[in-house]
Symmetry: C2
Subunit: 272 residues, 2 copies
């Protein structure tokens, strides 16, 4: 039997998918639900504890006491300010070493992963457990992007990579060459809604979600699910593009069906 998996659970349905995958192979698991991100009710039926982000020592103790050997981070967590984090002595020790101010989101997550490894845990990515979540190349549904949409996708990736170079954001909305919106702390759904309102006449915008260049793949890969498609449909966007093999698509069949029924495309583009 595989070693017990510790799941650091953020928001959304990704932690639930990881639990499903463990159940399917009867792998033992323990969930550490992160306060302010995860919904603790989601984990009532599995061994779990809830913990605030700054409680480093307690988190490590819980993982050890529950016999966790391997760890996975699943689901987004909004980054707190240092003031709201109230780090305990263990978290403070880490921040003192890495220098919180200088780090972007991916830099911070990489540092946290390194910290868990120094404490003796193996850290894997969601895609190591659920390889089928990685976006394939090409259109997922029946609809393919047209020439204007392909040009907008290319522009979106160009901009997203420039953002990624300075470790900010993952998502961009482009309409007819015009960058309508860039994601920072507001999250993708808020970006989609705002960009939808800013659209001009003619063919609608496209949402591009890209990994950061050199991104730590065990943390926070760009993710698309049915909710993303529904938000794009409500906002009047034309489709979604992600990098094949680098983004996660939660429930590919449902995403594909949602795209077809809304008349949107979802496409995986091979990263250059």
């Amino acid at each position: 039997m595989a070693a017990k998996l510790g799941i650091l659970a953020g928001s959304g349905e990704l932690p639930l998918r990881v639990i499903d995958a463990c159940r399917a192979v009867e792998r033992p698991l323990f969930v550490l639900a992160l306060e302010g991100a995860a919904n603790p009710d989601d984990f009532a039926s599995v061994p779990h504890a809830t913990i605030r982000l700054g409680a480093g020592a307690e988190g490590l103790r819980l993982l050890r006491e529950n016999g966790v050997e391997e760890l996975v981070m699943a689901g987004p967590v909004r980054r707190p300010t240092l003031a709201s984090l109230r780090p305990d002595w263990r978290a403070t020790k880490m921040f003192a070493r890495i220098g919180l101010r200088a780090l972007g989101d991916d830099g911070l997550l990489s540092a946290i992963i390194k910290e868990f490894e120094l404490e003796g845990f193996r850290v894997v990515g969601v895609h190591d457990i659920l390889e089928s979540l990685l976006a394939p190349e090409g259109s997922l549904g029946a609809i393919a992007p047209d020439a204007q949409a392909r040009a907008d996708i290319a522009r979106g990736f160009e901009v997203a990579r420039a953002l990624g170079e300075v470790d900010v954001g993952q998502a961009v909305v482009v309409q007819q060459g015009i960058v309508l919106g860039l994601e920072a702390a507001e999250g993708t759904d808020a970006l989609i809604e705002r960009a939808g309102r800013l659209q001009g006449e003619g063919p609608g915008g496209v949402l591009v979600k890209a990994a950061k260049p050199g991104q730590e793949r065990r943390a926070d890969l760009p993710t698309v699910g049915v909710a993303t498609l529904e938000a794009c449909a409500r906002a009047g966007l034309r489709g979604v593009a992600v990098e094949s093999g680098l983004a996660l698509v939660i429930d590919r069949a449902a995403v594909s069906a949602a795209a077809d029924s809304a008349g949107l495309f979802v496409v995986g583009i091979k990263a250059p």
Copy 2:
């Protein structure tokens, strides 16, 4: 007497400041108010015409008939989609040559300036007419950024320059190292309002407005005015940073007074 100045008027008070400057030296002028951006009522007392953005031939004719020799673009214009632009033959000819899809905002504005030059107009920048608008180095008001704010400003410029490299946006809000928001098509006021809501505990965010690397200085320099300060104060931000000599501060005394009374800093930082 100086040659007649044509003012391509966008939104905000910058066109009015240029008119004031012309009046002060009794320089003749003609305003072409851009539909959807400029408020035509602002120009009732000066020679002017209103024109839609796509009407290239009519615009050139109006400038020539009114004896304009030198041109200045003043005030932001939201970029339209090609569909809403409905370009006439003259604008279509330009777009056919430059390839609209491939251009960012600064690329497009540079191409438009070149087009006017080919038609025989001299094109100058707002700062050529109103040199006093260029942001000085150092704090404008009584309040200076503290160490955390200076770190956030440095991070903001790093991110803004990365965005500028791909010719998107000019403004970024950073709080305690966390990039809260990035400007695209929504405009700076909407960015400020959104980022304010996303702030976490502790010292508030700072707004950074940066020119793009290699930016065409005769178009759309980053601008700060009293309204910017008021929006930052409402949103709970701590201050504003711009690049000295590269950003415009409209009514420096009023901005400085507004900053002091709201307890905010406004600082010009020398670009590296």
